[in-house]
């Protein structure tokens, strides 16, 4: 969910950005990071931890922890909380099977 009105801040929604999560089409806005766009769309689980398979979501949102790592356009371990969202990005939920694509 997005904040529509705020007593102090003004949020100007940028233009719509289309992207894909595990093949499904999603919408974010210019200015979003991958994680903020996903969270606003109700996606809270971003990855699964490698040994214990625990669900993980956004934790620090400043690129310090490893909670929000996902596969973005084939590149694994991308910190989605600090990576700006771009048109057509293909995002995949990351689990232990991280593969290297060229």
């Amino acid at each position: 969910m997005r904040i529509e009105q705020h007593p102090i801040l003004e949020f100007e929604k940028g233009e719509k950005i289309k992207f894909y999560l595990d093949g499904k089409e999603m919408i974010g806005f210019k200015g979003d990071t991958i994680a903020s766009a996903l969270y606003a769309s109700g996606i809270y689980k971003l990855s699964e931890s490698k040994k214990l398979r625990r669900p993980r979501g956004i934790f620090c949102a400043v690129g310090h922890c490893s909670s929000c790592l996902m596969i973005v356009d084939g590149i694994p371990n991308v910190r989605t909380c600090t990576t700006p969202l771009k048109e057509g990005m293909k995002i995949e939920t990351q689990n232990q099977e991280v593969v290297l694509n060229e």
């Binding site: 969910m1 997005r2 904040i3 529509e4 009105q5 705020h6 007593p7 102090i8 801040l9 949020f11 929604k13 200015g31 979003d32 990071t33 903020s36 969270y39 606003a40 809270y44 689980k45 971003l46 931890s49 625990r54 669900p55 993980r56 979501g57 956004i58 934790f59 620090c60 949102a61 400043v62 690129g63 310090h64 909670s67 909380c81 600090t82 700006p84």
Partner: protein, 550 residues
């Protein structure tokens, strides 16, 4: 392997400390490369919607977001500063080469000096399911809602009552999130009392001596189990309580982000008063490695205002070392001395004690040059620091001694009971009616003789602790003027619910005046007419038609 670029100064980190360090050095002609990991400058300031405390000289009374805009503009105008955003310092090697990842390339610099202003990272807490989606650091919550306009939750549990926990709780309310409660493991609220009071009058419970045991939920937080702690911080049996919420916000402190310093083998020491492992440094902010300076939270956790001044000190010292002509030397020396005085002033009061103790541990004397006397006057604020609600005795000390004073018309009441460095109320009064008895660290008092009840201070106080009352508005009613920072804004003649300092509804009131101009800068000043019996109770309002979110 030879494409190493030369540089005079590299500043790492584009937050308040880094920005002011870059500016301070660049003003004397030093060529600065400012490196920031994110795609924007401003650091944590860009999320700070509240007004800052401290001295007006260091932007007190101004919102963090606006301080950021101001500093960033100055940085962009300065042609001695090259800005590298979306760039990360990768390594500081033994041969003093600094590698930076910028535009998908690792580039190399050989700088004469380095200032690390890398800030802090949030501390984590060990409890069951502490990694469940929906468990956030306070910074993450702020980032989501204030930077990206994304609602982090509908109902949240706040863990930690330091200034960040309190400020973020208030910001959550402003964004339309319910705050189930704020829990604090210590027996006392950690942050400033004025922040706690803002939340208390919104009806948010603050539970001291409480901690979180467990996050509950399958794929996302659905609630939390909290419990009470005894005086030795041990769990009290059978005090478990389930709190229904869809997010948990951890605000349990910051620790300096010393990764690059450790990499460069700067000597560090564990100083709990300053947040953990901090670099050893001298009073000019230079570390154990020559020409490697630090500023801001990375050198020890403090407020943004101290970070700004530390940045200046570091930047000026680099300028002094690089620009060697006599004229500059004298000017720079003077500026360094001024900045140091300013910093000492900020740290001089009771809330600065922790920082002072921490600095002593690394061999610095934080009050060396400081002669000003801080008042020894003290309020017994134990109840206030447990609940956020001032005691009757506290209030009495800030009210006129004689009832007659109320007869003269509207007067300002300051509900500020704690000594900390802050002066916007004093500086904003056009009638010179508010005084701190010569020290920014003292508690402000209103001179009721001089006060006209104009209400300028109501929107200027960063703690929202200034009110104006006019007891005898009519025979049966009083006027109370208060700050209001929520939506929807009330309109004239509207009937609103009136709340007391505990957030309890006490009566209805009629809006008589709404001031929402440039001076108020979004802290709306609302005057309501209420039954006379409540003129010392009414401190908040509830306006129909709460905020909506899509």
């Amino acid at each position: 392997m030879n494409n190493i670029e030369k540089a005079e100064l590299i500043v790492v980190g584009g937050g308040p400390a880094g920005l002011s360090a870059a500016l301070a050095a660049a003003d004397y002609g030093v060529n600065v490369i400012l490196v920031e990991e994110r795609e924007f400058l401003g650091g944590q300031l860009v999320k700070q919607t509240h007004r800052f405390f401290g001295s007006e000289k260091e932007y007190a009374g101004t919102r963090g977001i606006d301080i950021s805009k101001f500093l960033v503009e100055k940085i962009k105008e300065n042609e001695n500063i090259k800005i590298l955003t979306s760039s990360r310092v990768l390594g500081i090697y033994n041969d003093k080469i600094v590698t930076i990842l910028a535009n998908n390339k690792m580039i190399k610099y050989s700088p004469k000096a380095l200032i690390l202003a890398t800030g802090a990272s949030e501390k984590f807490l060990a409890f069951e399911n502490n990694d469940l989606p929906g468990v956030f650091g306070a910074g993450a919550v702020q980032t989501l809602m204030n930077l990206y306009g994304v609602l982090p939750s509908k109902k949240i549990l706040m863990v930690g009552s330091g200034n960040i926990g309190l400020i973020v709780s208030y910001q959550l309310l402003q964004a339309g999130v319910k705050v189930a409660c704020i829990i604090e493991a210590a027996p006392r609220i950690g942050g400033y009392s004025v922040h706690a009071s803002k939340l208390a009058r919104m009806g948010v419970p603050i539970l001291t001596s409480h901690t979180i045991k467990k996050a509950v939920g399958k794929d996302k937080v659905e609630g939390a189990i909290i419990c009470q702690l005894d005086s030795s911080w041990r769990e009290i049996k059978d005090t478990e309580q389930f709190i229904k919420c869809d997010a948990i916000c951890l605000s349990v402190g910051l620790s300096p982000l010393t990764d690059l310093l450790k990499q460069a083998n700067v000597k560090t020491s564990y100083v709990p008063e300053l947040g953990g492992y901090i670099p050893l440094r001298d009073e000019n902010m230079e570390t154990s490695i020559k020409n490697l300076f630090v500023a801001g939270d990375v050198s020890g956790i403090e407020e943004a205002t101290s970070a700004i001044i530390e940045g200046q000190i570091a930047g000026l010292n680099v300028a002094k070392r690089i620009k060697k002509d006599i004229d500059n030397q004298v000017k720079i020396e003077k500026k360094i001395a001024e900045a140091k005085d300013e910093l000492e002033l900020l740290r001089a009061g009771p809330v600065g004690e922790k920082v002072r103790n921490g600095l002593k541990k690394i061999g610095l004397d934080p009050l060396k040059n400081y002669g000003e006397k801080v008042s020894t006057e003290e309020f017994d604020i134990s109840f206030l620091m447990k609940t956020g609600i001032p005691s009757k005795e506290n209030l009495k000390k800030k009210l006129p001694l004689s009832e007659d004073v109320f007869n003269k018309g509207p007067i300002a009441i300051s509900e500020c009971f704690q000594q900390f460095p802050c002066d916007p109320c004093v500086k904003s009064c056009p009638f010179d009616a508010i005084s701190e008895n010569g020290s920014i660290n003292n508690i402000p008092y209103v001179n009721f003789e001089k006060c006209t009840g104009c209400g300028i201070c109501v929107s200027k106080c960063p703690g929202l602790a200034m009110f104006v009352v006019q007891k005898n508005y009519t025979d049966s009613t009083s006027l109370v003027t208060l700050p209001y920072e929520f939506l929807p804004k009330p309109v004239k003649n509207q009937i609103v619910l009136v709340l007391n300092r505990e957030g309890t509804e006490i009566c209805e009131g009629t809006v008589k005046r709404v001031r929402d101009g440039k001076i108020q800068d979004k802290t709306t000043v609302v005057t309501i007419e209420i039954p006379k019996e409540y003129f010392l109770e009414a401190r908040n309002i509830k306006v129909d038609g709460g905020q909506k979110h899509g």
